[in-house]
Symmetry: none
Subunit: 153 residues, 2 copies
DNA sequence: CTTAATGCAAATGATTTGCAAATTA
DNA sequence: TAATTTGCAAATCATTTGCATTAAG
């Protein structure tokens, strides 16, 4: 059992949800696929294996995958919406004075990066964001002047 | 008349489209607003001034604004779609295959970065975002096999 | 057994479109 | 005057939901 599957199972357990055969199948196809799928497309693939599964279930399962942080949906300009596994995005705050490095977690940030990549026809694998500035402590010592904007753009 | 308005007028002229009072009003409200609006929201604002304007016209005008490169629509996880003026910051998309480097523009990204920094007591001076992936062209060549996961995680 | 999940069909809600009337160049 | 745009209402289309039934823990 791979990591993703474990995460999903943990999520289900934590929320008193059940691991049905449908959910298992949808998850498997979702993570094993090499390209981004539309709900319909994934539904068709899933149907090839278990013809009984409904489109509603695909949609419902996707919601859980999203909540578990395993999937995100990406909207395209052509009107389609595709679901993709979420991948490793790392963001850091770096203090220019003391060099402190603080990892930040901001799903919205990740979402927007995805969105930006998508808008350029890009398929994003991972991203690095480094935010340079002054940390709280160094800020106190520095406050008198305002080192702003000079470095921007 | 500001730059945006001029661009829009040029776009209209270039495409033999007409500058109607509705389009003018929608453009004005769109560019003057301080926040991202839903089609509905913008429609409501516009209606406050010219109650005759229809929602269809708002949608149709948006398409033109997008084509003119003045607006882009951003889909949110909450299901709303908001239209935002395209201007502002630069981060980069980097294609891992061909090395292409594309500057991306997403004011929201910057906004969120500011926000993240603030939450940690950080004062943000500048940021560098690099999004790694495959560009549209390389994506096509790669599709047959699955370039996935290797770089993932 | 108890609770949650499923499939189906019907409902929703955002966006689009056909068309006759109105407006722009 | 010719061509485009508008508003309206109806049509789409992806996604969601209600409900009776089935399956998981």
């Amino acid at each position: 059992m791979n990591g993703t599957t474990r995460i999903f199972q943990d999520y289900l357990k934590a929320n008193r949800l059940k691991l049905t055969s449908q959910r298992k199948l949808i998850l498997d196809i979702f993570i094993s696929g090499s390209q981004l799928l539309t709900a319909e497309e994934l539904f068709r693939q899933v149907s090839g294996i278990d013809p009984g599964i409904s489109l509603s279930t695909v949609y419902r399962t996707f919601k859980h995958l999203q909540q578990a942080g395993l999937a995100r949906c990406v909207h395209y300009g052509d009107g389609t919406t595709r679901y993709e596994p979420s991948d490793g995005q790392k963001s850091y705050l770096v203090c220019e004075k003391c060099g402190k490095k603080i990892p930040i977690i901001n799903p919205y940030l990740e979402c927007l990066q995805q969105e930006s990549a998508r808008q350029e026809g890009f398929r994003m694998f991972r991203s690095r964001t480094t935010i340079y500035g002054l940390c709280h402590e160094c800020l106190k010592e520095h406050m008198p002047c305002q080192p702003q904007d000079a470095t921007q753009h």
